[in-house]
Amino acid sequence: MSTREKARKPALTRIRHSPAGVALLFLAPGLLFLLVLRVAPAISAVASSLFHYSLLHDTTSFVGLDNYRTLFADSDFHHAVLVTLVFNVVINPVQIAISLALAVLLNQKLAGVRFWRALVFLPIAVPPAVSAVIWDVAFQPNGLINAFLRVIGVPAQPFLTSSDQALWSIMILCSWIGVGYWMMFLISGLQDVPASLQEAAQLDGANGWQRFWRVTFPMLRRPLAFVLVADTVSNFLVFAPVQILTNGGPENATNLVMFDIYRRAFTLGNMNLAQAEVVLLMLVTLVVVAVQFRLLRSKE
């Protein structure tokens, strides 16, 4: 045994006997993946965003913040940001409100409640690409939805071919997928609310709405905070439905930032500009999530 090995052994033993060391060992695989799959790509994105590759001259040059300036001056980017903000401002409250309503409903002792929960949850088990293809067929001019609308006397709608309706159609699809998923977290939160609190409120003469608003809702703050943050992040990163259903159109009406990044990187082949947009998306998402956390914390 070499002297080096002798010196190493006590160090390993020390780590094994220290709770922090053991915790670190258990966390090591996760931290390694975090480093390789999250931190390193983020650093690489920042670095790449500071360069420009000229295909015409086959040269790469350091351009500092020029890619960011280009984006801020680009009308397509402005439009993508606007579309993404509208999408998120509408879809997040709607999805959470529907999820909460479904959670409250399906947390009751109703006949076949497990079946209904499974039915609402089912869309999340379908791959997003498959869901998108199914909805693509449904949204077609001669598709299922228009057939139904005709039956009830409503004229056929253009859905994905209209710049006024395409984004709303994508929202319907994303909500169809998402609400069942978020509902499950909220049901689990509802089941953690102690029954004694409800009973005490009932004895004090609180009606159903008062019990929900004064007892249940405050107790749901933690799961709601998680759902709000996770839902917001996932909706900032929506990609597959746009790629499959609309390709960002019509007239850029569904050009969400995530799709815009993909298009710049892999369709237009401008990796540096796409990385600058990735960095901006990361920053915006971090700011939004930080604000959400702060708002929720201040009410505790």
Partner: protein, 429 residues
């Protein structure tokens, strides 16, 4: 304790062995000494099976593993994988106008050593789009043209005399649209469909027929020219087809020939490959005629088709090059590429066989198709523009076409597409 240590070592050994095995497999070498060529293209696997089997028979010890990718995603997939210097692709399909962009990005191996052989063995002019800055980057596998197909029964029902297959009696778009409207009034669900709706390949000829050019300045490969009166007029005409209900909105290009073959459309503009599709539908009575042009303009037709290129980083690029030469430069290989996929072979020796087969395949309906195809390839075919910005051009134009189809005002949409092109091409400088 010792057992536990042993099992940990075994586990570690297994952990190390698995990636190593993966890496070996990734090198494309089989344990039995075979070489595996990785091939990526947007074709139905059954269409490529004959040429793969033929090559493997002629080259014992070499296998071709084919991976299909969706037509609309070829560019994105190649950009992502070749941009990362992926060694897992040896041969890939290249749309000819993209040769410049791909070669400039160093995604293609220089094949200039075979330029004389290619010039000798492929149809005249078919190798032109395979060149960039004087060097050969791909080998042309197929070519293409477009015909005007018509539904015999729908035209008869509307009292319309079908168009002749004689190029000298070629219909204008104006006459075609008038006949399509009449057929629609007589019961056809749709009047006129394009096989590749919203794609530049199909629509370039509309402004070109009116003298509007390709959309790219002939003086500077990174300057758009899509807002001239000819482009606006052509796109207004395209817009009106859908606004008037002659053609459907919201239907993807791959469903267009299904609508025609199920007897719901009077006219259909499509390629020679549709002869095989329509011949297989026993209830459909159809015919074909020359591709129309605008009155006062000149007859022009789309052309070119996929060539195959070699990835310079491919683990088995040399074997891949042998496969490409087999498919492009030998008669047997070329004929195998079209055995189940009736598309024009770029190989000169295979072309006469295909021409005869095209005449025969559709019976009376396709009689004369070979001569018409020959005429169009010689006299009316126009290549798409060669520019290192073609990938951006096609993406931006295809989105503009889709928007115009869905009701966007053509002149305004062409102006915004032009601005997008200036911005995207500015990034290439």
């Amino acid at each position: 304790m010792s057992q536990s240590g042993l099992s940990r070592r075994r586990l570690l050994g297994l952990g190390a062995a698995l990636p190593a095995a993966g890496a070996l497999a990734a090198c494309g070498g089989g344990g039995d000494g075979t070489t595996t060529i990785q091939f990526v293209a947007p074709e139905d696997p059954k269409n490529l099976e004959p040429v793969i089997r033929g090559f493997e028979r002629a080259n014992p010890g070499v296998r071709v593993k084919y991976t299909p990718v969706p037509f609309d995603r070829v560019n994105d997939v190649l950009q992502a994988r070749l941009g990362a210097k992926d060694t897992e692709i040896d041969v890939f399909a290249v749309d000819p106008p993209r040769v410049s962009a791909l070669a400039a990005r160093k995604f293609l191996r220089d094949l200039s050593g075979y330029r004389e052989q290619v010039r000798r063995d492929v149809l005249p002019g078919q190798d032109a789009p395979s060149y960039f800055r004087g060097r050969l980057w791909t080998m042309p596998i197929w070519s293409s043209t477009q015909f005007l197909y018509y539904n015999v029964d729908l035209l008869r029902k509307a009292g319309i005399e079908p168009p002749s297959s004689d190029p000298a009696a070629r219909w204008t778009w104006e006459r075609t649209v008038a006949a399509a409207r009449k057929a629609q009034k007589a019961g056809a669900q749709y009047g006129l469909l394009f096989d590749q709706t919203d794609r530049y390949y199909q629509l370039q000829v509309l402004p070109a027929s009116l003298g509007g050019g390709s959309g790219v300045s002939p003086h500077d490969e990174l300057t758009p020219e899509i807002t001239n009166p000819a482009w606006v007029k052509a796109m207004r005409w395209y817009h009106d087809l859908f606004a008037d209900g002659l053609a459907p909105r919201g239907v993807s290009p791959d469903q267009m020939n299904v609508i025609f073959s199920s007897g719901h459309a009077a006219f259909f503009v499509g390629g020679p490959w549709d002869v095989g599709v329509f011949s297989a539908v026993t209830k459909l009575r159809w015919g074909l005629a020359p591709h129309p042009y605008f009155a006062g303009g000149r007859p022009v037709t789309p052309t070119d088709s996929w060539g195959w290129g070699v990835n310079p980083y491919g683990a088995n690029a040399d074997a891949g090059l042998r496969f490409v030469r087999y498919a492009a430069l030998t008669k047997a290989g070329s004929l195998q590429t079209i055995a189940t996929n009736p598309i024009i072979p770029a190989n000169a020796a295979a072309f006469p066989t295909y021409r005869r087969e095209l005449d025969r395949q559709g019976g009376d309906a396709s009689a004369g198709a070979g001569a018409l195809m020959d005429h169009e390839l010689r006299h009316t075919a126009i290549h798409r523009p060669r520019t290192i910005g073609y990938i951006q051009f096609e993406d931006i134009m295809n989105k503009a076409f889709a928007d115009i189809r869905n009701g966007a005002e053509p002149a305004a949409r062409l102006r915004s597409a032009s601005s997008a092109l200036v911005s995207a091409w500015g990034q290439l400088r």
